[in-house]
């Protein structure tokens, strides 16, 4: 059954890293609806996982009474994920992309997440409305030969 309209899926879970596995299972299910294979599906799970791990750590400081919200939008051309938080927010433009080799030299254990998201997705947009919400919109085009 080919759907011609956009299909929308959403998952809300408590803001705790133990729920990242559940978020990835959700992404896999949506990727399955988009007829993606295991490799592509895993990469989408990574991108959404990174976005949600940032919300859990940076936006909500591991306060599990807060909710992580993920939306997935699926149409014939693309799969889109939206991760929204109402945390303190940040200025994504001043977070410079770091070279993994440089991070290795610095013995860093973090700083890879946003770079991974950008390398996996075809379009990444931050939409920050200060004091209201921080949205991360990620889009991956679907290949036509389905």
């Amino acid at each position: 059954m080919r759907q011609t309209f956009e299909q929308s899926f959403a998952l809300h879970v408590p803001s705790s890293s133990e729920n990242l596995a559940m978020i990835r299972a959700f992404v896999s299910e949506v990727a399955f609806r988009a007829h993606l294979g295991e490799d592509e599906s895993l990469l989408l799970a990574v991108a959404v996982d990174e976005a949600c791990a940032n919300v859990i750590e940076h936006a909500y400081g591991h306060d599990a009474t807060k909710q992580v919200m993920v939306r997935a939008l699926l149409d014939e051309d693309a799969i889109r994920f939206e991760v929204v938080d109402q945390g303190k927010g940040f200025d994504p433009s001043i977070i410079e992309p770091k070279d993994p080799r440089q991070l290795v030299k610095e013995r860093a254990s973090g700083g890879l997440g946003m770079g991974l998201i950008r390398r996996i997705m075809d379009e990444v947009v931050y939409h920050i409305v200060p004091g209201e919400k921080n949205e991360l919109l990620m889009m991956k085009r679907l290949k036509k030969q389905r």
Partner: protein, 125 residues
Amino acid sequence: MPDTFQILEEQQGEVALLRLHGYLDAHTAAEFESAIQRRVDQGCACIVVDCEKLSYISSAGLGVFMSFIEELREKEGDIRIGGLLPKVRQVFDILGFTEIFQLFDTADAAVTSFQLKEEGDATNV
């Protein structure tokens, strides 16, 4: 049944072998980090991570590898990876980590690579 995370540890001569099962993400990375830290504190510099049963990795897991490698290489050791599944290897590839880390088809091959080096060193004495 949902997947979880587990580490099985073995010592093979000078080499500490850590076998990972399940997923390595922001939730489970801390456990992996302490396992490696414990080995480093014991003076072990040669570490092999068996990833044959690793089903998933995110940046938090990669970060553990990243934060230890310089220190271990300075100590004439290394952290080497065996048996990475293709779907997980993609994540290493995307960040160029396949060029920074030494990857082997199996954990055994990774363990042997350290032993050859030791024998080499011994012959050089």
